[in-house]
């Protein structure tokens, strides 16, 4: 399983999922893919279907309605996969911790591998987080 993951991380394909965010973190993720901070040169592609993805990027504080869909999507993504939580709202709901519509943080529902803090995190920070994760997996010391 670790050999497969090492091979897949030579050019991981990303799936972007927003569970009720204000769209700032989504704009910063899309900034990473445009020619200024170009991560497409490493082979990272944004795909439209969950069955084609290796890495799941989650933004937004988890709504009640979107948490059921997140569970179903995590069951459908082909394993081995990596989950990245981007932005303060995805880490621990941020300032919406007492809201009536966000009862549970995302990492109690699906296992998360890397947390990228910031509101929104700069594209340099997102790239640094993903690079640290890939190095950790290739060195063999990651959780999987």
């Amino acid at each position: 399983m670790s050999i497969k993951l090492n091979a897949l991380l030579n050019s991981p394909w990303l799936f972007h999922l927003s569970t009720g965010s204000c769209n700032n973190c989504d704009i910063e993720i899309l900034d990473c893919l445009t020619p200024r901070f170009d991560i497409e040169r490493f082979g990272m592609l944004l795909v439209g279907s969950i069955k084609h993805a290796d890495v799941l990027l989650i933004t937004g504080s988890g709504n009640r309605k979107s948490m059921e869909r997140v569970k179903r999507l995590y069951e459908q993504i082909p394993k081995p996969c990596l989950v990245v939580a981007v932005g303060e709202c995805a880490l621990s709901r941020g300032m919406f911790i007492h809201s009536y519509n966000c009862p549970i943080p995302i990492d109690k529902v699906i296992p998360v591998d890397v947390y990228i803090p910031g509101c929104p995190p700069k594209p340099e920070a997102i790239i640094a987080g993903v690079v640290k994760l890939i190095e950790k997996v290739k060195a063999g010391t990651a959780k999987k």
Binding site: R64, Y100, N101, P103, I104
Partner: protein
């Protein structure tokens, strides 16, 4: 028509229904009217003055509930906010959905979040809350209590007391 002409026209036509006019700034004016006259005033502003309906907002204060309807007249750059005060516990008002279509969804949202009943609305279903939300619990009221036993409301960090 200029701003003074519009305000003078409204004051003259609905002299009994207007309770108070607040001139907030050159671009905004708040007009408070009685709840019974909302359909006449709103259809006058929408049809005859050719204003555009922006949005509606609701608030739960200590003594009453308020709904504000915001209309925009673009040529003279004026935003008119119609304020309606509804006394608790009887929370009912006539719906504007029969006059113009744009107010359909915002009234559904105000109904499910604050619990105000709109009489004559064609389709008063749930819009944003999930299907397993309990009936009769309105989140943005002042007396809303947490009903969910499984909610986690701390960040999981234990602080060390020295």
């Amino acid at each position: 028509m200029t701003r003074e002409e519009v305000l003078g026209d409204l004051r003259k036509k609905f002299k009994d229904d207007i309770i108070e006019v607040l001139d907030k700034s050159p671009k905004r004016v708040y007009i408070e009217i009685k709840p019974e006259a909302i359909i006449q005033v709103a259809s006058y502003i929408f049809k005859d003055l050719k204003a555009r309906f922006n949005t509606a907002s609701g608030v739960d204060t200590r003594y009453h509930m308020e709904i504000l309807y915001h209309f925009l007249i673009e040529d003279i750059n004026l935003l008119i906010s119609l304020r309606i005060k509804i006394q608790k516990p009887k929370l009912e008002i006539d719906s504007l959905a029969t006059i113009f279509e744009g107010v359909n969804w915002i009234e559904r949202e105000i109904h499910e979040i604050l619990g105000i009943n709109f009489k004559g609305h064609p389709d008063l279903r749930r819009l944003l809350l999930p299907d397993d939300w309990p009936d009769g619990v309105y989140p943005l009221r002042r007396d809303y209590k947490e009903w969910d036993k499984n909610a986690i409301r701390d960040r999981g960090v234990k602080c060390q007391k020295q």
